[in-house]
């Protein structure tokens, strides 16, 4: 409605406009309120509830009497039991190995693939979905497929033996010291194509004028990437890191499908530990305590990183 055309007195019009303006003002809040409330209760509310449970002696069912930090004391003791390794020790060491290798290799491989695909090669349209496709599979499918492929009696080793290379030996998936690396292999296979797509989008977004200018100034292709393009991709690194970090922490299902826990529980991650203790062993307090420790560890890594990255942007 156009205000010029109206003949209503000013005093009568003002409340109508302000009501509309107020509604317009409030509309985003009204629309967001349900999801905000749901998040508040089901994410933050339950985080608090988990923290509370970790200080009780809940077993099969939650119990509400606070009994002190006994669950944490047990986890603390298990943290230092390395010989023979306690399940918790194995879980956190595995998390370190898996998290570091998974994130690092995915980033490196994704960047490399993206740079290679970005060379205006023929058939890019075919190659891109091929690399991206594993991401469309669930962890369960990836886990089962790799389980069969890596099984010495069924997959790679057996096939190469049939081709005559009988000295070939690859039994990592059956070996307590190496089984966690097979989880890295399967995880990297699944996620690196997706990371490639992220980097590719980043590369396409870089102003070609900058590259031309650098080339005119005599920068070699290596220098071009090392000094100009990769630094410009910094925001992509941030997004990729966050995506990978949360996937690494959630890879419970991959471990289960690929190794069913590994020989003697040697492939456990903290998420396996948490599920096992909460739901199978009826030690809800210990499970909750381990979940709280996982949350704090993740926060300790992600929060400073986000803070430094976002602060820099604001400047």
């Amino acid at each position: 409605m156009s205000s010029v055309a109206t003949t209503e007195p000013v005093s009568a019009r003002r409340p109508a406009v302000s009501l509309r303006a107020r509604l317009q003002d409030a509309l985003p809040k009204i629309v967001l309120a349900p999801s905000f409330a749901i998040t508040l209760v089901f994410v933050y509310g339950f985080i608090l509830w988990t923290v509370y449970l970790s200080f009780t002696n809940s077993k099969t069912f939650p119990s509400y009497a606070l009994t002190g930090p006994r669950a944490y004391q047990r986890l603390w003791r298990w943290t230092f039991e390395s010989d023979p390794p306690s399940s918790w020790y194995t879980s956190i060491v595995n998390m370190g190995i898996f998290g570091f290798l998974y994130i690092f290799i995915c980033l490196a491989l994704g960047l490399l693939l993206a740079i290679l695909l970005d060379q205006k090669i023929r058939g890019e349209g075919v190659l891109r979905p091929i690399f991206l496709y594993p991401m469309a599979l669930s962890f369960i499918v990836t886990g089962v497929a790799w389980k069969w492929f890596l099984d010495p009696g069924l997959g790679l080793e057996q096939t190469l033996h049939q081709f005559g290379w009988t000295s070939f030996h690859f039994d990592w998936i059956k070996n307590k010291d190496f089984v966690i690396y097979t989880v890295v292999i399967a995880g990297v296979w699944q996620a690196s194509g997706f990371i490639m797509a992220m980097f590719l989008a980043g590369l396409r977004g870089i102003d070609s004028e900058i590259m031309k200018a650098a080339q005119i100034d005599g920068a070699s292709p290596f220098q071009l990437y090392r000094r100009i393009i990769i630094p410009l991709l910094r925001p992509v690194f941030l997004s990729a890191f966050i995506v990978l970090a949360h996937m690494a922490i959630k890879s419970y299902d991959l471990v289960v499908a690929l190794t069913s826990g590994g020989p003697g529980g040697s492939a456990w991650l903290p998420s396996n530990f948490m599920y096992e203790y909460t739901f199978k062993r009826n030690e809800m307090a210990v499970g909750s305590a381990s979940a709280v420790i996982m949350l704090m560890t993740i926060s300790a890594i992600i929060v400073p990183y986000l803070y430094s990255e976002l602060k820099e942007k604001a400047r």
């Binding site: 390794p85 010495p152 020989p263 003697g264 096992e276």
Partner: protein
């Protein structure tokens, strides 16, 4: 518009009326939570469905996403927390007692009295089906875990005979090794290793020792030299597995024996279901012996139908379910298919094969002689926290994280202490 409103009101009234009249009568429906969905098990359960439908009760499965016992137990926990009890749920061992402690289980004592469960159900099972003097669950079957499953063709080829002692078993495995077959088919998952270890402990220490260590959790027995000897025996026997054993599923290990790739598997009698499914006959295709040195004792586990404290209008259906579950005809029909033996000792064994007949006789003898023990690996020796701590230790010993028997015993005591 008015007509529309009137119609709506009438429909609403009709619906409400229907609801009210349905509430007045008993609900002729059994809501059942279970994870018996695979071929043989589903067929076995069908017998029960038919028995109930003859009495006019409909059967309704409570859906469980993902199948499997763990998913079912998680679903059950959520249902109970929401106050929405199923009529009954498949349950194992201490789970029944956990729920009974929460006060959500029903009371079947009247039915039990009428049907004479007190006398016919083995005493050891009643420990899990009766809570504070009230029947809260109906046992469906009894599995026993101290069995050897042997491929007869391979046995004949190597000229072996039934091993009577642990040493004879090792000698038999040596023969198989010399003949170039895998001596011991084992799946390297913690519950399979621990299930085998149950038998080894019973064989090494005898019934008295097994009961003290694995049912009473007596610390002196747990750290005794006999327990160390048991771990030594475990170390000896796992040398006879193939290099590829780690992580293998139990039914694949059974398949190795069925196909003649391996000589023997130490496994509970659910393995018999695999032999039956492969159309093999006991005595001619395969042999079932008690684990050497455990003759006369039975290490058991049992599936139970836990009965929840349902509202009065659903009680009749629950009683019908419980009665049908422990009826002799169902016990016989179900257990023939499932590979287990009936949960009451007065069921005729005519329909069973040779291994089943032996199982029934053994159970009866063990019940009378007081040598019927709960399997620790299968969660009938101690609560899940302790049973899983035990499985951890055995599995870590088999796979080399724990290197010596001394260390294993120390870890076992510590782990059980932690989980208490």
């Amino acid at each position: 518009m008015r007509k529309f409103l009137t119609t709506t009101a009438m429909i609403a009234l009709a619906v409400a009326g229907a609801g009210a009249s349905a509430r007045a009568a008993d609900v002729k429906e059994v809501q059942m939570l279970h994870w018996w969905t695979s071929g043989g098990e589903a067929a076995a359960l069908n017998v029960l469905k038919q028995d109930l439908s003859k009495e006019g009760y409909a059967w309704k499965d409570v859906p469980v996403a993902g199948g499997g016992g763990d998913a079912a137990m998680t679903a059950l926990k959520a249902m109970v927390a929401a106050g929405n009890y199923p009529t009954a749920s498949q349950m194992l061992g201490y789970t029944v007692l956990d729920y009974a402690q929460e006060g959500v289980m029903g009371d079947l004592t009247a039915t039990a009295k009428k049907e004479g469960w007190d006398k016919s159900v083995p005493k050891a099972l009643q420990k899990f089906a009766v809570y504070n003097g009230k029947w809260v669950a109906a046992p469906v079957n009894v599995h026993s875990v101290n069995w050897l499953w042997i491929n007869k063709a391979v046995m004949d080829k190597i000229g072996g005979k039934q091993p009577k002692t642990f040493a004879e078993l090792i000698a038999l495995l040596d023969k198989a090794k010399a003949a170039g077959v895998v001596p011991l088919a084992l799946g390297g998952q913690n519950w399979q290793e621990a299930t085998m270890f149950d038998s080894i402990v019973l064989s090494t220490g005898g019934p008295e020792f097994y009961k003290k260590a694995f049912n009473d959790l007596d610390e002196a027995s747990l750290k005794s030299d006999t327990m160390k000897k048991s771990f030594d025996n475990l170390a000896t026997i796992v040398k006879y597995v193939d290099p590829n054993f780690s992580g293998r599923d139990w039914n694949l290990a059974t398949a190795m024996v069925i196909k003649g790739d391996a000589l023997v598997q130490v496994m509970g009698d659910w393995a018999k279901g695999e032999f039956v499914a492969a159309k093999k006959t006991p005595g001619t295709d395969y042999l079932c012996y008690r684990f050497p040195g455990t003759e006369g004792s039975v290490i058991y586990n049992s599936d139970m139908f836990g009965m929840f404290n349902v509202p009065a209008d659903r009680k009749a259906a629950q009683v019908a379910l419980a009665t049908a579950t422990l009826s002799k005809s169902f016990q016989s029909a179900f257990n023939v298919v499932k590979g287990s033996v009936p949960a009451r000792t007065d069921v005729p064994d005519t329909a069973f094969d040779a291994c089943g007949k032996k199982g029934i006789a053994d159970l009866k003898a063990a019940n009378e002689g007081g040598t019927l023990f709960g399997s620790l690996a299968q969660g009938y020796g101690a609560p899940p926290a302790i049973a899983n701590a035990y499985k951890d230790v055995v599995s870590k010993f088999v796979h080399g994280q724990i290197k010596t028997s001394d260390e294993a015993v120390k870890q076992l005591v510590q782990a059980i202490d932690d989980a208490r």
